[in-house]
Symmetry: C4
Subunit: 279 residues, 4 copies
């Protein structure tokens, strides 16, 4: 009996490892297949959420949609349990970002037993989309995406200043438009005017609210040209950032043999950190 | 009789070559004239398709439009037959991209004998527009277009990541807006909300669907500023790419034979470092 | 009598020169004052044209507006006559671009004697605005404007290719939308669909025509993201052009003392054209 | 008694200094706390102004909103008085930009005793938002904001030329559209047409006014593509400016004392040309 126990344990351990390889493995065929399957089920599941909300489709295929949703929920539940079993630190996974997303993905259907299914509950399932990032982060896209992320991160402070600036302008001009335009033309309160101002500054222009007085139209024209002009600012910031990071990577010369720092130009003859002669 | 056959064959061969020169020739006067004629007929034919769909014009000039369409169809049919005859490998042409376009261009009118002419059939003729590319590809524009194409191709992966990102955002924010806004304000289903979200993110803003609740307007404002900000990303990518390809192409001249420094311009006659004469 | 004639001639000549100095002079006080006066009258005159078309203003102040318009027309007539008199080659002026603009500026009021004043006739007066360019071209703005003009000119071919590409896309996608959407949703003919497609591609989005079918909305979403993406192309072209012309002008080193050509870099030691040593 | 006076004076002087430290101090804990408190009160006060204009909120909580407004007004009044007392040159402060903003911030409530409270008076309080700049200018954002400001300032002349160009185009095309389109489609006067033209050029596109004739739609399409294209110009200007100022600021380190070449980075310790140690 003493011998049996470790075997049992190792059985379980072996199982845990095999599940681990399938679920977390990227380079094994089984892992790749599982990722593809998961990708398909997630996309299908999100598609189901979308179609369910289309009234005439839901009326026709309600039974089928609910059935399919149950199949997917059970599939995700099994996957969730396997993920908990296969990790060494289950609690760490459960309270991680993806752990919570995974849990929320399966919750709504089970909750519908106890409480009547609401709009919010069924929409929460769309969060499954976030699970895509886990799969795709391990794929080929990461290189390109991370380069974009770097450029955006580097210009984050500038863009924050910019957004802050847009808010101040919108509040001030919104207040002015509230005074200038009457309630009849849609400017019923300052918050609504601010909303209109953002719609105009960003050149979206729904037209549900539009100025009717001459002065209002003149101010609106000013806001439009302003918005049309300042769109140049974030574009300029990001472009300069991307162009900069591009030119930084331009140097192809080998690193310094002494201190391993990257030379600053292809034709550098001496290392700028330690002064070692480069060949 | 034996002698006559080769003559016949060569007659045909000569004819084939003359047709070939006219249809495919670009540098011969006949070829140029034919291209210009074809350009005109294609533009005229597309114009006819457009005008036919304008009801009050079609009511007035229906007879004339049908007649003109027949003249053009017959012209294109003859051209199609000549193209098949004049090529050495007719099958290769027939199943090539342009071969299929050419065939589709003449099909609708002949089909109208057998089946009643439908909206789709007559619009298919607008595909003739694609034939323009064959003519213009041989023209002067190619240089400029291919440079643009290179820049776009080089940033294709980044733009794919970007479009993928926009889709994820649109689905998630669309689902949120579906919950926040009621059906009365146009957010009847998640797909419709996603459509609205794309309309807003891209700053198009039709206004056929627009938020009415305070929370909806707040989220919409956030989406607008987001869309207004992230437009900077593709612009930055393409700009950096174009600027980069521009600076790369700057100097093709060989390095200085004396000091091996790179000349600063293609037309430099003397090295700017040591004054050695460049050839 | 013989003596008198040259005096007369010289009187006229002196007058012609004085008028010339006032009208064409930029650096004389009288010329500057005249330019400022002209600037004011042109702006005032254009403002009058604008206000005349506002119905409730025209009803109230019709008499005054007509009177002011006559005063301005007479002022411009005198100026036109003086310009003809003061030039050595009157015919060259009369048939030049600005000569024709000047003539068209005064024509409408005199024509109103013979034919009833129409909408077009009164709007033609807005062309006086073009006269501003003559005055401002001589001002300080030219430097900046010409730099912009250079950058735009240099990227003209690329932008033409780009616009041509937008047109082809609009026609093809317009034809597709005409088939997909019904007449009830506003897509009454292909030209209208093309108009809608341009409205969408350029992210203007009036919303007077908007897709209602699912397929139509899907295609519209595609067009929007396309438009949102390709706006990067002209921006990239112009930006790279401006950045390029900026970096070209960066060299502050003095020109070559031998051949007077501009050195290609600040640290160039030898002229790249003639090989002369630079200090 | 002689001794008492200087003591009184110094009491007052000490108090003045302590107030000064609290109000103007940034690096002292008391100063920081005061700034944070002020920030909160300003934001709260602006929020109150916004909410007051929302009818259904004002109906419900009118009493509370007026009370809160009075509390804030009294707080700002005390702060205003303290600022006057604590400065050595009270008049300079009172007539400075922020002094006037501070005064205007407290005025409306006191005026409501004498004259009935109007829409304008209550909106004027939104100007308190401008007070934020005084607080934030002393914070961390300044570095980033001033860099943006520099780039925008440097391209100001070019952007002025650009805006001027847009105005001329809008007036001319507005006049053309007024002639082409009838009053029924919204083009009631040239000023309205100009407003529509700006709405279209800037790609805002409300849709409250939209062309209905074929010619009008064709011209509108032209304006849209024009607007879509020329947005590239300000973007290009600002981007080139930012990229330029970025590359200019790259290296501030002194040149190599041996070969006088510019170091390639601020933190370079050895010259990359000759290997001399830099300090």
């Amino acid at each position: 009996m003493i011998k049996k126990e470790p075997t049992k344990k190792s059985y379980f351990e072996v199982l845990r490892q095999r599940i681990n390889i399938i679920i977390h493995g990227v380079n094994t065929p089984a892992g790749k297949l599982f990722d593809l399957l998961l990708l398909g089920v997630i996309l299908l599941s999100v598609l189901l959420v979308l179609l369910e909300t289309v009234e005439h489709l839901d009326n026709k295929y309600h039974e089928f949609l609910v059935f399919a949703e149950w199949v997917i929920t059970i599939f995700f539940t099994i996957e969730y349990v396997l993920r908990i079993i296969s990790t060494r630190k289950p609690l760490k996974y459960i309270f991680s970002f993806y752990g919570i997303i995974d849990f929320i993905s399966i919750l709504p259907m089970y909750l519908s037993f106890f409480i009547p299914s609401t709009k919010i509950l069924s929409v929460v399932r769309a969060l499954r989309l976030l699970r895509l990032f886990r799969i795709l982060n391990l794929g080929n896209f990461t290189g390109q995406a991370s380069e974009l992320k770097l450029a955006i991160n580097a210009s984050r402070t500038k863009i924050t200043v910019f957004v802050y600036f847009i808010f101040i302008i919108s509040i001030l001009l919104g207040a002015v438009m509230y005074v200038v335009e009457s309630k009849e033309s849609g400017f019923t309160s300052i918050p609504t005017s601010i909303y209109w101002c953002i719609v105009t500054l960003t050149t979206v222009g729904y037209g549900d609210i539009a100025p009717v007085t001459s002065l209002g139209k003149a101010i609106a024209s000013f806001i439009m040209i302003l918005g049309y002009g300042i769109i140049a600012v974030p574009t300029g910031i990001v472009t300069a950032q991307i162009a900069n990071s591009k030119s930084k990577r331009k140097v192809f010369a080998p690193n310094c043999p002494n201190c391993n720092s990257q030379p600053l130009a292809d034709d550098a003859k001496f290392c700028s950190k330690c002064g070692t002669k480069l060949n």
